[in-house]
């Protein structure tokens, strides 16, 4: 549990789980979970490569700080959309939300 390959393997597993969730789930909240998991896989990769392959710079950590803040903003917007969709449709199944279709 202390070489770069180990961390990249964990990140790859998280990314695979996220892809699986995106493909199979139809519940908007589960989709949000899957997206968060994939964002975390990407952040883990950033930190791992930045910490192992550079002797002294913090660019990887800085990028992850920005990424976490962006993900928080994205989660807030998605949750607001979920609440509005629930108020309009009493459900958050994305295959049922078709009111924007022509």
């Amino acid at each position: 549990m202390n070489s770069l390959t180990d961390f990249v393997i964990v990140s790859g597993m998280l990314l695979g789980i996220g892809v699986y969730g995106i493909v199979t789930k139809r519940n908007a909240l589960r989709l949000l979970f899957a997206v968060e998991i994939m964002i975390n896989a990407a952040n883990l990769n950033f930190i791992a490569f930045g910490q192992f392959l550079f002797t002294s710079n913090a660019v990887g950590q800085t990028f992850v700080l920005f990424s976490i803040a962006l993900a928080a903003a994205e989660a807030a917007v998605i949750l607001a959309i979920v609440v509005v969709a629930y108020r309009l449709h009493q459900d958050v199944d994305v295959s049922e939300l078709k009111s924007l279709e022509g």
Partner: protein
């Protein structure tokens, strides 16, 4: 900690009760934070705990409780065909990344050698990446305003 991280992610997607899924997601995010600690990046780890485990997970938990329905517990399972395709694509992505990681030679010295800490992060954020910080602040403000507007859009104004 890798087990906690990956297991929490699986629980988040597969738990029957979606509240347990939200808790599993929080566990997974916490596992990622501990991996950041192991990677010698304590500042990012603490940031992850406060923002993700502290704020986002609680936000998700509240929304889940607001919109939760009993019928989700016995949710219409996606057709097995969809599930197989999803599992295959997930496995394919994971296998590709893992194969690439295992078969790549990351240079001669791959021990943890980065000692950059708070000072370097602060200097980077406040000098070279200051425009990014400004734009990020605008994005955050816009998203918060958007979220507030969305969630009160169809409320009747009392005076009209």
């Amino acid at each position: 900690m890798a087990v906690v991280t990956v297991g929490g992610a699986l629980v988040a997607l597969e738990a029957d009760e979606i509240v347990y899924g939200a808790i599993g997601l929080a566990g997974s995010l916490f596992g990622v934070a501990t991996l950041f600690f192991l990677l010698n990046a304590p500042y990012v780890a603490v940031f992850q705990v406060t923002v993700y485990v502290g704020a986002v997970a609680v936000l998700i938990l509240f929304t889940v409780m607001l919109v939760r329905q009993e019928k989700w517990a016995k949710e219409v399972a996606p057709t097995s065909w969809t599930k197989i395709v999803g599992a295959l694509s997930g496995l394919a992505v994971a296998a590709a990344v893992i194969f690439a990681a295992v078969s790549t030679n990351f240079g001669s010295d791959t021990s943890l050698q980065n000692t950059a800490g708070f000072l370097e992060i602060g200097q980077l954020i406040s000098t070279g990446y200051a425009p990014v910080l400004e734009v990020l602040a605008l994005v955050l403000a816009a998203s918060i305003i958007g979220a507030l507007t969305l969630s009160r859009a169809d409320k009747e104004e009392p005076g009209e």
